[in-house]
Amino acid sequence: MKKVIISIVGKDTVGIIARTATYLSKANVNILDISQTVVQGYFHMMMIVDVAKCKTPFAQFAAEIIALGSEIGVDVRVQKSEIFEKMHRV
C-alpha cells in the first residue's frame, strides 16, 4: 500500500467529492478514508488514498488533481503520507 493524502481547502460547493472521486476511480486509486471539517470559515476535506495500483506517475497524478481543483475553484495538495507520520508521531 502506498498512502497519499489529498487535502482540499476552499469554499464549499457542489461536486467537490464527486468530481475528485471520479478522477481517482479512473486513475485506479482506492479511497481509504474521507473526512471533512470547517476551520476559520474554510471548507477542509482530507482523503487518504492508496496509489499502489495507480498507473499514472506520482508527479503527473498530483498535477492532474491540482488542475481539477483549480477547475472547481479549490486549493488541492497531494502529499505522501510519510510527511504527516514523521511530523506527528514519535
Binding site: 493524502i5 487535502s7 481547502v9 478514508d33 473526512s35 471533512q36 471539517t37 476551520v39 477542509h44 482530507m46 487518504i48 506520482f58 508527479a59 498530483a62 495538495r77 497531494v78 502529499q79 505522501k80 503520507s81 510519510e82 510527511i83 504527516f84 507520520e85 514523521k86 511530523m87 506527528h88 508521531r89 514519535v90
Partner: protein, 455 residues
Amino acid sequence: MIISQEEVIETNTMVREENLDVRTITIGVSLLDCADADLKKTCDNIYAKLMRVAKDLVKTGEDIAGEIGVPIVNKRISITPAAIVGSACCKKPKDFVKIAKTLDKAAAKLGVNFIGGYSATVQKDMTKADELLMRSIPEAMAATSRLCASVNVGSTKTGINMDAVRLMGEIVKEAAELTKDRDSIGCAKIVVLCNAPDDNPFMAGAFHGVSEGDAVINVGVSGPGVVHHVLKNLHGADFETLCETIKRTAFKITRVGQLVAQEASKRLGIPFGIIDLSLAPTPAVGDSVADILREIGLEHPGAPGTTAALALLNDQVKKGGVMASSYVGGLSGAFIPVSEDQGMIDAVDAGALTIEKLEAMTCVCSVGLDMIAIPGDTPAASIAGIIADEAAIGMVNQKTTAVRVIPVAGKNVGDRVEFGGLLGYAPVMRVSPFDCSAMVNRKGRIPAPIHSFKN
C-alpha cells in the same frame, strides 16, 4: 496508523502561512582525489567530479519537495577546503582564482545556488597554500557569483591564530573595495569562523571537512515563522509552557528535515550525514527570529533580557530537534543575521540593537555576527578586532562563532544597503571608533584556554 485531519491541516498551515520549508539539501563532496601538480588538470578533475556526484541533486530535491508538499528552498554543494585541494598546483593567488572560477562554473551548470568550501582551516597556523588562498579571496569573490569563502581562524583546542585574524581584516576590506559597485557584496560571501564544524550545510561557512567521507548529504531545516506562530497563543504563559511548546515545534520541524535527508540519501545513493536544526530567518515577513524574541516578551531584540530569551530559544530548539533526528550536527540553533531578518532590521532602525549587544547574543546563539553592514571606512584593524572578539567567545565557550560583516564602500552609519534576494537589505551600523591596531598587530597566536586540556 490513521492520520487525523487536524494533523494534516496543522502541517499544511505551517507551509502555507508560516513559511515552513527545508532550507537546504547540501551535498558534501570530497575533492581530495582531484588534486594534481598541474593546475588545469586539477580544475578539470574538480569539474568532472562535481558533475558526476551532484548531477541529480537539483532534480531530486524538486521531486521530494513535490511529493511531500514542503518546499526545499536551496540545493547546495560543499567541498573539501580549496586550500588543501590546490596546495600542490597553486603557486600564486591567481592560480586559486582559476579554481574559484571552475567551482562557480560547475555550480551554475548544476543549478545549485551556492557552493561553499573556498576555505582554509588555519586555526593554528597557515601553510603557504592557505595564505595564497586567503589572499585570493577578494578577487575570487569579485569574479564569481555562487562561490562562498570561509576561513577558520581559531578553535578551543588550538587557540586563535592572530596572524590569520589580522590578514582576514585586510581581506574583508579588500573584498569590499573590489565589489564596491555592488554595495561590497563580495563580503556577504566571506565568513571568518572559530570552531567551524566539518558538516555545516549552511552558507557561507559550509565546507566538507577532511574527516568526512567521499560524499555526504547534510540537510538544514528552518522554520522561525512556525515557532513564532505557536507562541502567539502563549502570552503570559510560564517558562515551562513556553519552553515545552518551542521544543515540540522544533521536533516537528526537524522531522521534516530528517524525512527529506533520508529520501535524498536513498535516491542519490549518498550516505546521510547530519541534520542541522537551525532557525534560519529570511527577509520575508513572518520568517524572523526577531519576531520570536518579541513574542517571548521583548519590545525589540536588543532590549535588556534579549540574551536570556535567545539562550532559552536556542536550547529548546536543540532539545526538540535532537530527538527528531538520528544525527545532528552543523551549527544547530538560532541564526541572528541582521540583513536577512526584517525584525532585526527594524530593531536596528529603532536604535534598540547595536553590534555590542549582538556580540553578547552570539555567546548563546548558534553562530555569530552575521550579515552586518558597517561603515566603509572602518579600519582593517578594527574588523580584525571584531573577528578576534568573536573567536575568543567561541574558543572559551567551546562553540562555533563567526563574523560576516560588510564594510560597505562609501557608506556610513544611517545609510542603507541593498543586497537583494535571500541576503536582504541592511542599515549600516556603528562600529566603536576606538583603535585596537597595537593589539591586532602583535604576531603569533593566542594560546588555547585552560579548559581545553581534557586529555
